[in-house]
Amino acid sequence: MKKTLLPFALGLTASLWGGSVLADGVTLHALMEDVPETAIIEKMLPDFEKETGIKVEFEKVGYGDMHDKLVAQLVGGQSYYNLLEVDFLWAGEFPAAGWLEDLKPYAEKTGFDTAAFIPSTMELLGNTDAAMPLVPMYNYSMGLIYRTDLLEDPALQAAYKAQTGKDLAAPTTLADYVAIAKFMKAEGKVNGAAMQGQKGDPNAMEFSNYLFAAGGDYLDADGNVVLASPAGETALGLYKEAITTAAQTGALSATLDDTMRLMCAGDAFSMVTYWWMLPQIDNAESCPDVAGKVALSVMPGGHGESGGWGWGIAKNVPQEEKDAAWQFITWVQSKDVAVARALEGHAPVRADVYTDPAVLAKYPFYKDAMSVVESGKSFPIFTYSAQYEDTLGTQVSLAASGDATIPDALAAAASGLTDLMKK
């Protein structure tokens, strides 16, 4: 009996020893949004693993599932996700709850250069001189994507001139944009605007573009709520007009995916959307009906919604995992890797990537994209931003569906913001 037990015990000891040796290698776990940007980075992970020996695993889910999954881990004893992908809308909440490691000491210790990032991408994530909770990952500022072939159509140009006395051209104001979108719906045999009016994140983000384009804002320079202003009323009025007279059937329940499909199928003249949607629409393989016929511009009026994701490190993980996560962040946001990502379609946050000759040679529109990023204004970022998105989305939806008046909806959205900021 002893003879048979001895080899077994030795084997067990050896396997346990071997197991513990293998466990010494740190594995980074990140919950990632299932978007092209994630796929681009995922393809490069073997290079990082080869270079550092650190294994990185991405768990990909839809945006709607991310917040709750992350929060459940961050409030616990030890988070499974040690490397965090954090939306700018949570950039107030996560640091306020004490879930994120301050990355400023890491940057100082390793000499990580944050000056390369476009300032708006740093501010968007709540980074200050005192603390850096997040490192910019990629940008999703919003602009206008529109069909150039329809604007250049002689018959439509003549009809528009006859109706309005104006030339049919890319709009420069919000009112012009809505007027052209309405005209396209009536005369262009397409939907004037592919709109994402589902309440919550979709319509709150879309409306923000209208607000900034009309000259309105959520907060003034002193942090006072100024949403319920004449510019705010103009913005919400034009948003409702666009939904009811220029958008597709079902715009009030539509999301980004719906608008993408419409635009891709050639069934819409325009969409207010994330700038990096352009290469996906201007693609002869995936969208043959509109490839070569679309352009990107800053939101008419000069400002659109700014947005972006950042990298963070969970506080409730062991120090060796934090160090490994920081090593990954500095690698993935370095100039060389960022340029390589941009050549695959990445939406950069570093200014030097937008001006990189190789990137511009492949994607000339990155010049316009940089204007979109630089001119973007931010949704209010505070502890309850995610809840405010829902509050605002509800009021915008009520106004757009005719269930609330414009002034009432705007007043309710403004008081909701005031209440949440006081909370």
């Binding site: 709607g64 917040h67 709750d68 929060v71 409030v75 909440e93 306020a96 709850a97 009016g197 589902q198 309440k199 919550g200 597709q248 059937t249 079902g250 715009a251 009030l252 329940s253 539509a254 719906d258 499909r261 419409l262 199928a265 069934d267 502890t383 309850y384 995610a386 809840q387 998105e389 829902d390 989305g393 509800t394 939806s397 009520l398 757009a400 569906s401 269930d403 609330a404």
Partner: protein, 291 residues
Amino acid sequence: MSTKVTDTARIGWGFAAPGLTMLAIVMGLPVFYAAAISLSSMTLIRPALSFTGLANFAQIVSEPLFWNSLLITLRYSVATVAGEFLVGLAIALMLRQVVTLRGVYFALLTLPMAMSPVAVALIWRMLLQPNLGIVNQTLAAMGLPMVDWLGDSGLALKTMIFIDIWQQTSFVVLLLSAGLASLPREPYEAASVDGAGPVQQFWYITLPLLRPVAMIAVVIQLINEFRTYDLIYILTKGGPGVSTELLSFFAYKRAFQGLALNEGSAAAFILLLIVLLITVVFFFLLERRKN
């Protein structure tokens, strides 16, 4: 005799103990914890359990959006259960007459019930997609106007009710079919001898005898409908406006978007109390009928 009864009871409790212990751990502890949170100041930002009494309940019931959600939940639950019961009863009565391929019919009928609500919601979202969905494409091919099934605030809740009835009716059919199969033949034979027609037999024999099973079916479905969350989350997110925002979704938003676990738990507890009340009333009625 008395010792025997005591021994039997003791053995019974002994057999039940593992199951009861599991229930206490799996169901009792979370409910107790949620109750504690609902009476505390605990939020995701400040996760400390300090007792605040009924303040969270007072906060929740002072909000018009809560009452709106409660009203919508009541309308939704009553409409879906009524629809499921009526359609389910009709199908169960028809199936009672079927002799050939009876098993095939039952298998087909249970398909929607076997699907997860998330899958059902995703399927219907594709079918009802306003521009590319097969329903609107069919309407357009027939020369009819396209309908904004989930984006029209006057129609969205009705659409949700229809989808729910589509999925849940099969459960009611199964329950009522089992009830119908267990009805005694003698009253029908006697009624036929007395000259009662099919309608009279249904009204005066089938319905009264089926009442206990029917009440069980109604209670189970009411509990299910009050807790509906998946369909709303996938299809409308409570919109347009707040036209489909059920109480379960209100509680979820308060807890995870508003970061107020305490208020979210309070809203969930109110939902639990309503469901408990309904269950107690139904069982009281059932017992009284039996006695």
